[in-house]
């Protein structure tokens, strides 16, 4: 008996009991759909995080303060921190970089063009901010190094802020009150939109040194910088840039290279850390999916055993007409495999559809992992073979005489 005919015989067996066949496959459908949806959800979460990190800028190295081993440095007598001077240290001592910027954020009420806005995010930063964040200017100029050196009270507006305060009128040269301090507007940024969690267009940019002077409490180290952002020229240059930064800062801070008071973080290292947590999460979901596939497989085995018992007489007849034990075994094995493959097919459709639905409804971001489809489908096939084997072997072992006599 050739395989195609066996397929047809097995198919006829399934069609005989459509409702039962469908219910039997439900376990596999759920298992397969779960695999695909879960992988899509975790891939979506990963992509979301990667997007947020990449939104900071390309090839970025972040320099942050670090506690050295054994607590605070005994001689220094203060918390480890980075200072405004470190920007110059890196700018002068490191090659292969696009720029170095530092940021200090404050929220203030602003007034300009006869309009008042409450609680606007004001970023104190340096000239290289535009390079590091890949952010263009449309009118006027950005904060310069000399603005910072002289702590000039100049401001650059995000596109939305400029529109809200001045409408179509050019804001360049206009006065702006931030808190109680008067500034002069020198530039307007191009529209950038929301990247990650930051709405660039509704922010105002002023010199970092002005934030130190006007908007931070001197008691907590007024010129302390939380993070320095260094943009490397290329991805390949990053390792070299990081080495240079370490060398320059170790020298400037006069610390032990083995336990520096700063740390370097890249997007990759954040993504890696994030990846290992999502991997744990994914492994867990993988087990859940595996369990539901096994349960689905047991369901198939159960129904196949019932089916073999119900069709004992048919099996006896087929044997009398010349079916070998192998033919009978193949017929029932194929029925089980087809059940699980149909379950797999419907499960893939449900999984893909479910992933899209989650996205469309905005419940959560999902990203379909293409490899999960053959993976889930293959798992379904293996389940069918594994759990179909025993009922099929039982059918093949039937004695035709006994089987034919069965009512």
């Amino acid at each position: 008996m050739n395989l195609w005919r066996t397929f047809r015989v097995a198919w006829e067996g399934l069609v005989l009991n459509k409702a039962r066949s469908f219910l039997t496959t439900l376990g596999v459908i759920i298992g397969v759909a779960a695999v695909i949806v879960m992988l899509a959800v975790s891939a979506g979460a990963e992509a979301e995080i990667a997007d947020q990190i990449n939104a900071l800028g390309a090839n970025l190295v972040m320099v942050m303060p670090a506690f050295t081993q054994g607590g605070f440095r005994a001689g220094a007598g203060r918390m480890p921190q980075l200072s405004y001077d470190d920007i110059a240290t890196i700018q002068n001592g490191v090659t292969g970089i696009n720029g170095v910027s530092a940021e200090q954020t404050t929220r203030q009420d602003i007034q300009g063009g006869g309009v008042m806005l409450e609680g606007v995010t004001v970023i104190g930063t340096t000239n290289d901010f535009t390079k590091v964040r890949e952010y263009a200017i449309t009118a006027g100029r950005f904060i310069t190094d000399s603005d910072n050196d002289r702590a000039l009270k100049v401001a650059v507006l995000g596109a939305s802020v400029a529109e809200e305060l001045f409408g179509v009128v050019s804001p360049i040269g206009q006065p702006l009150k931030i808190g109680s301090t008067k500034f002069t507007i020198v530039g307007v940024m191009a529209r950038k939109g929301v990247v990650g969690n930051t709405d660039y267009d509704s922010q105002i940019y002023i010199p970092l040194t002005v934030v130190f002077k006007r908007f931070t409490n001197a008691r907590f180290g007024a010129d302390a910088v939380n993070t320095l952002y260094v943009s490397a020229e290329s991805r390949d240059a990053m390792a070299d840039v990081m080495e240079q930064i370490t060398r320059a800062l170790v020298k400037a801070h006069d610390v032990d290279p083995a336990s520096p008071d700063f740390q370097l973080i890249t997007q990759d290292s954040i993504i890696d850390a994030q990846a290992s947590t999502t991997e744990t999460f994914r492994n867990l979901l993988g087990w859940v999916a595996a369990v539901s596939l096994v349960v689905g497989g047991i369901g198939i085995m159960n129904i196949m055993l019932v089916s073999v018992t119900e069709r004992t007489r048919e099996i006896g007849l087929r044997q009398a007409l010349g079916a070998r034990p192998l033919d009978v075994r193949l017929q029932f094995l194929l029925e089980a495999v087809m059940l699980s493959l149909i379950g797999g097919l419907v499960g893939v459709a449900a999984g893909v559809g479910g992933s899209h639905l989650f996205n469309a409804l905005g419940t959560m971001r999902t990203e379909l992992v293409v490899e999960s489809i053959p993976l889930a489908f293959g798992a379904a096939a293996i389940v069918g073979i594994f759990f179909g084997y025993y009922p099929a072997a039982k059918a093949a072992q039937l004695d035709p005489i006994v089987a034919l006599r069965r009512e």
Partner: protein, 247 residues
């Protein structure tokens, strides 16, 4: 041309072992020639069914030899026996044993499914099954399912199925047992017709008037042949003496 299609020699069949052993056949020897129509009779427990199972290659004898169509089949493996059943034996059962979900044509085609020499296309197989159904007078019922057919018609479909692989021998086990008299007679006329066309038929029955259709009647009792005559009427007295064939 008279050729021994079936040769059985000292056939025994023992079920179980030791003190609970049942000796279903106790040394049977007989030949069936090409083109014969043989009826096997005997009371319940006489070994009729066991003999039919062995003749049908569904079971193997405990000892003795069985040569079917020149091939000793008494020691063949399950797979080889399946192949012999497929090629050389056409079964007709008391309960027809049609698959309820298949049409008449598809039921008749079943043995072709397991014939490894068969390279017929689907269309050819259907045509062949249709011609067998025509032969048994059911050309207008090709696509009916068993539940749409009368008992007599179902048995004809079963006969067509038995004929599809051009078997050496037709084994009929109480072919009229589930039928009313009129349908039973129609089935017997059909078997007579096949016999006249040269088919070799071995039929088990416990009804004397059915056995009378055969040329030769073998009467079994307690696993032995106690009578082997060329006409049923000769055993009528014996049949009455043993008080029928059970059931």
């Amino acid at each position: 041309m008279t050729e021994n299609l079936i040769q059985i020699q000292d056939l025994t069949k023992v079920y179980g072992a030791g003190t609970i052993a049942v000796h279903a056949l106790q040394g049977l020897s007989a030949n069936v020639e090409q083109g014969e129509f043989v009826a096997i009779m005997g009371p319940s427990g006489s070994g009729k069914s066991t003999l039919m199972n062995i003749l049908g290659c569904l079971d193997r004898p405990t000892s003795g030899s069985y040569v079917l169509d020149g091939e000793d089949v008494s020691g063949l493996s399950k797979d080889r026996l399946a192949s012999v059943r497929n090629r050389k034996i056409g079964f007709i059962f008391q309960a027809y044993n049609l698959l309820p979900r298949l049409t008449a044509v598809r039921n008749v085609m079943l043995p072709l499914l397991y014939d490894r020499r068969n390279h017929l296309s689907d269309a050819q197989a259907v045509a062949r099954a249709a011609s067998r159904l025509e032969q048994v007078g059911l050309s207008d019922r090709l696509h009916h399912r068993p539940n749409e057919l009368s008992g007599g018609q179902q048995q004809r479909v079963a006969i067509a199925r038995a004929l599809i692989n051009e078997p050496s021998i037709i084994l009929a086990d109480e072919p009229t047992g589930n039928l009313d008299t009129r349908s039973g007679q129609e089935i017997m006329r059909l078997l007579d017709e096949l016999h006249r066309q040269g088919a070799t038929i071995v039929m088990v029955t416990h009804e004397l008037d059915i056995a009378e259709n055969a040329q030769r009647v073998i009467y079994l009792q307690d696993g032995r042949i106690i009578s082997d005559r060329t006409h049923a009427s000769g055993i009528a007295h014996m049949f009455n003496a043993t008080n029928g064939g059970g059931r």
